[in-house]
Amino acid sequence: MSKIYGRTAAVRKVSLALQPGRFYVLRGENGAGKSTLLRMIAGLNEPTEGNILIYGLKTRDARQQMGYMAHAPLLYDELSGMENLRFFAQLYGINSDQPLVEAMRRVGLDPKLTRRVGQYSQGMRQRLSLARAIFHSPRLLLLDEPFSNVDPESALAIAKLLAAMRSSGNTILLVTHQIGLLAELADEFILLSHGQLVDRGAMKQGHA
């Protein structure tokens, strides 16, 4: 697939097949097209050419099976953590609090916290944003820089959670510059440069 903005190709003829149940790290310099690629897979940007199939379905039909975490937290500042999750859960047809409480506990947040998200620290926002991406137990998890602006404790908690999710068979595609945290967790790296896929391989080899 390709994504072209005017005369600039953000992603150029990238062909990518991901195996279910594996943990992929998408790497590349700033402006390499990582976030654009992730947004296309999430269905937020339409590829200029090519198409995407997720578990054999078109992106718009596979939304129930995808979790997406972006740079921005994608949360309402005026609502509490639980109120945010409740709203988004209803968009997925989930009307019970139980998966939401579980998601909050998994990211290390107290579901009874009544404080509004606007008063959360950056680390708490990132954790809640991850809870928002996983409460519906997606089979494919797309994460854009989940460790940015996060304290080491939160980063470690997020990394542990991702490891657990990978062990339970979820497919994870993660964009990050902080590769060190994932050296032991991820299976494969995918390297983009100037919008093109330039390398792909086992994580330990890529990290080295």
């Binding site: 937020l44 921005a72 988004f88």
Partner: protein
């Protein structure tokens, strides 16, 4: 797990009203602007009751039109803050639920503004309707929906542009002219009691049906435009 458009529409309405209740961004700015219009025009003209009946229709709708524009800009700005709109777009929820949720939320807010401001218009302009009051209620319901449905659509269209505060009136005002003329004429007709407002009300109802359908059909394209 069911995703009914009606249910999701009300979930969006409840969320928007809760956000507004906690921030009061929209209502405060709408009230302040409308209050300014009422007071400034009242002191500038000092009209008699007879004169008021002739021009207050225009004044009322000018105040509510510009207040609505403020409300619409802010209601979408909330969805852009923290990129929340993307969380909606990656969900399986249908776009029309978001559209109707926003329309109904904004409609209720503008109606609340109208209920709060109407007594002030009556007081400051010494108003008493000669025509039937129920017609005024119908005109306000239809007129408000006409403004809100187009406004919600065009605000969604302009949210990703650099000058969205400028874009919305530029897009909304020309297309709202027929509706605004009908609202003002109908309101004046009822207040003065000289002519029947029924034909203007029918026109407004038709306008609402046509533009609600068009906006509903085009909203998904606008929401996913890059």
């Amino acid at each position: 797990m069911s995703l009914s458009v009606t249910r999701l529409t009300w979930i969006n309405v409840a969320k928007d009203l809760r956000l507004e209740w906690r921030s009061r961004d929209v209502l405060n700015s709408m009230l302040f602007f409308s209050l300014l219009v009422v007071v400034i025009f009242s002191f500038s003209f000092s009209p008699t009751a007879e004169e008021s009946r002739r021009f207050v229709g225009g004044l009322v709708w000018t105040a509510f039109l510009f207040s609505t524009i403020m409300a619409l800009n802010q209601s979408w700005a909330r969805e852009l803050r923290n990129g929340v709109l993307d969380a909606y777009r990656v969900s399986p929820a249908p776009p029309e639920a978001l559209f109707f949720g926003k329309c109904i939320g904004n409609f209720l807010l503008v109606l609340l503004l109208e209920c709060l401001m109407s007594p002030l218009f009556v007081l400051f302009y010494n108003l008493r309707s000669i025509g039937p009051y129920w017609q005024l209620a119908v005109i306000f319901l239809l007129g408000t929906w006409a403004l809100v449905v187009n406004g919600t659509f065009f605000a969604a269209m302009s949210i990703r542009t650099r000058n969205r505060e400028l874009m919305l009136p530029l897009l909304l005002l020309p297309i709202s002219i027929p509706a605004v003329v009908a609202m003002v004429t109908a309101t004046t007709d009822v207040l003065t009691g000289e002519l029947s407002a029924v034909s203007q009300m029918k026109f407004l109802a038709g306008y609402c049906v046509i533009f609600t359908t068009a906006c509903f059909l085009l909203f998904e394209t606008v929401l996913n435009a890059e």
